[in-house]
Symmetry: C2
Subunit: 183 residues, 2 copies
């Protein structure tokens, strides 16, 4: 199933022949476990979400100081980059009601860590949480892609991403710092 997720992450329109070959099994065997392509994608998506959820749960981030939790969070998620890519890139998944629950659980778990960091003053409070979440997701994806392409050392990924997320690429002090710059 992880092979399926990987195959679909590489090419969302991969045929079942491709998936079977990349999983090292026959196409018939694939059909014995998943009655249809749709079911395979759904199950692989669900599996990816469950794996992510367990990976998150296992780290018990709530025991860490919020800024440490943030950095260790990106470190914990980077190895799951291909699963994340699969979940983000396969369009059939986004409109799959049966995954909504699992997706909500993962999102909520991530959000809890982000919001705690925000509430405890590590992250600024004047931005909508949706933007915070979208930014985190996008940077995580960028980091994984960079590692996969060899542009970023795997061991640097967590630290680099953490630093970019917190401080961006600018050199100066945060201009307005409290509020959006008055125009």
């Amino acid at each position: 199933m992880s092979a399926a997720a990987r195959a679909f992450a590489v090419d969302p329109s991969a045929s079942l022949v491709d998936v079977a070959r990349s999983a090292g099994v026959g196409r018939a065997t694939l059909h014995r476990y998943f009655s249809s392509r749709e079911e395979l994608i759904r199950e692989a998506g669900l599996d990816s979400l469950v794996q992510l959820e367990q990976a998150l749960k296992a780290h018990r981030f709530e025991r860490l100081a919020p800024d440490v939790a943030l950095e260790s969070l990106v470190g914990a998620l980077t190895p799951w980059g291909d699963r994340l890519r699969f979940l983000l890139v396969v369009s059939e998944l986004s409109q799959e009601p049966s995954l909504k629950a699992a997706e909500a659980r993962v999102d909520e778990q991530l959000m809890r860590i982000l919001l705690r960091a925000r509430d405890e003053g590590v992250l600024r409070q004047d931005l909508p949480s949706a933007w915070l979440f979208a930014t985190f997701e996008a940077l995580l994806y960028a980091a994984w892609t960079s590692v996969a392409q060899g542009d970023l050392a795997a061991n640097d990924a967590a630290r680099t991403l953490h630093e970019t997320l917190l401080h961006g690429h600018g050199t100066g002090r945060p201009a307005g710092s409290k509020k959006a710059r008055p125009r």
Copy 2:
């Protein structure tokens, strides 16, 4: 052709029937202008790149101070979100040698703006340029998606993205500031 780009951005595996319908023409007419699906995708990709290039050229960012150029850059690119999504999401495009030249021109133009900002001290200098570029692209994509989903006001997008890119979400001063934190 912009309709084709939009259709493929929504669903990279859209059939020619879908594309034709979303463009408001018959499938036969589509074939009269593009002899094959492959050619259609290639031409639409090339068109998107050319449009992006011209949009960038028209703004003459080199006339602006680097930090102003950065903010106006994200403002200039946000309206082209669907073209960007098309270029990023359609996997056939990434392995299309005939687009390499145009892609390189666009990338080079973006990079020039980013690197100028870096060289003049607006952006920090201790990060690989590939990471700078990947981050910019990812945040741009995130901003466009947020706007499309209604999570972010279109008028705030450029300012928000610019601020996030420069200063991130953290509240504190950039910890190490000159070098990677010693471990």
